[in-house]
């Protein structure tokens, strides 16, 4: 019996947005690894919790959840050692990844380390981008549109240059950058065609025009969607 490791995109939060393949891999795994805060439950695990019983080894990868800080690399070094031991022992390991593993996923830190020694597969997931678009009832891209996905923590000048080179945009990781980004979008005349999407697909999902947002209440995992043609995509 030989070990295997697969990164599984579990989607943006709605447990029903898990794929059939993701569910099969999770059920087949001997070990489930997932990101988790230093204390308390893991969001990625909670998405698939209804499919779990007590028959799997669970390996939470605990780290401080600091918005805007890239994670402590020693955490991943340690996780890779633990996962490697399971693989050597012939176990199948599924790594749960919120959204999609290859789109801003912390899974990339594991993948970069493990793929040197093991074949690491990935099951793609529903990304928060398409979930936000579904929540907003709004096209990410139509016809020959250029869609640009950019992190809100970037400096204003960078955001402005990239916003000028696209037809539609998704600004991710908005959080405490909301006020600054809103000011920028208003200055560029893009405020009216933009909306903030919070917790897409979850029971507390909200889609708000920018002027209806309290900047103190914007979670890290929020996204601003904008299309320069407004709702006249076609």
């Amino acid at each position: 019996m030989s070990g295997w490791i697969i990164g599984v995109g579990v989607g943006p939060g709605d447990p029903e947005l898990l794929t059939l393949k993701g569910l099969r891999i999770i059920r087949q795994a001997d070990v489930l690894a997932f990101p988790a805060p230093l204390e308390g439950p893991s969001f990625a695990r909670s998405i698939v919790a209804s499919h779990l019983d007590d028959t799997r080894i669970e390996l939470p990868i605990r780290m401080p959840m600091q918005a805007d800080r890239f994670p402590v690399q020693a955490v991943y070094d340690r996780a890779v050692t633990e996962i490697g031991a399971h693989l050597e022992a012939g176990r199948g390991v599924a790594v749960l990844c919120q959204g999609d593993p290859f789109l801003y996923g912390s899974f990339l830190y594991l993948f970069a380390r493990l793929s040197a020694d093991w074949p690491v597969e990935v099951v793609p997931g529903v990304s928060s981008l398409t979930a936000c678009a579904a929540a907003a009832g709004s096209a990410l891209a139509a016809r020959n549109d250029v869609l640009s996905v950019m992190p809100a923590p970037l400096a204003d000048g960078d955001l402005e240059a990239r916003l000028s080179a696209c037809d539609s945009a998704a600004l991710v990781k908005v959080g405490r950058h909301f006020s600054r980004v809103r000011s920028l979008l208003l200055r560029l005349g893009l405020g009216d065609c933009a909306r903030l999407v919070v917790h897409a697909g979850l029971p507390d999902e909200r889609v708000l025009p920018l002027d209806g947002v309290d900047p103190g209440e914007v979670p890290y995992f929020s996204t601003i969607l904008l299309h320069k043609r407004g709702r006249a995509w076609l």
Copy 2:
């Protein structure tokens, strides 16, 4: 009983990349609508075929499949009339959409017409973007990368400007534009960090360096992925 209509992203082609929610909606629907060529089977329907029996009304939206041509609007006008009649009769209608409905989906043509009169919901799907990244074992975006998604049919000057304003890119709808786009990428020094992904997630999936591609053999639904840092994303 009142009618309902939901656009369902069925993923890029692997039947297992359907979501649990997509499967539930398809099973609950009285009517399945899906794009189809003038003759022969529908690719979107084939993705979910194993879940279907003969109990649903099937409504193929048949149109000429012409690469690079935007579809004949009269086809959608007619489809909307048919779908509207089912909704008026109190039936639930699921519209099958390859990939995600709001990312270059032909569903947008139906959505634009129907959403004026009916609440149209969307179930997001796994997009071809994340499926291509999984096939290539390659990050779409890491850390604070800007990812730009652009259709290959755009003119060289437009592509060049947009490629200069991102860290990573996905060029979609490559098809007969391959030779021209490859030349452009080579001229920009981006050839080595780019790969062509064909039929991601399907049995005949291929991931090829650009110099290993026969330009006469590139299907319309092919994608070039590139990351300017190569595989040194982190």
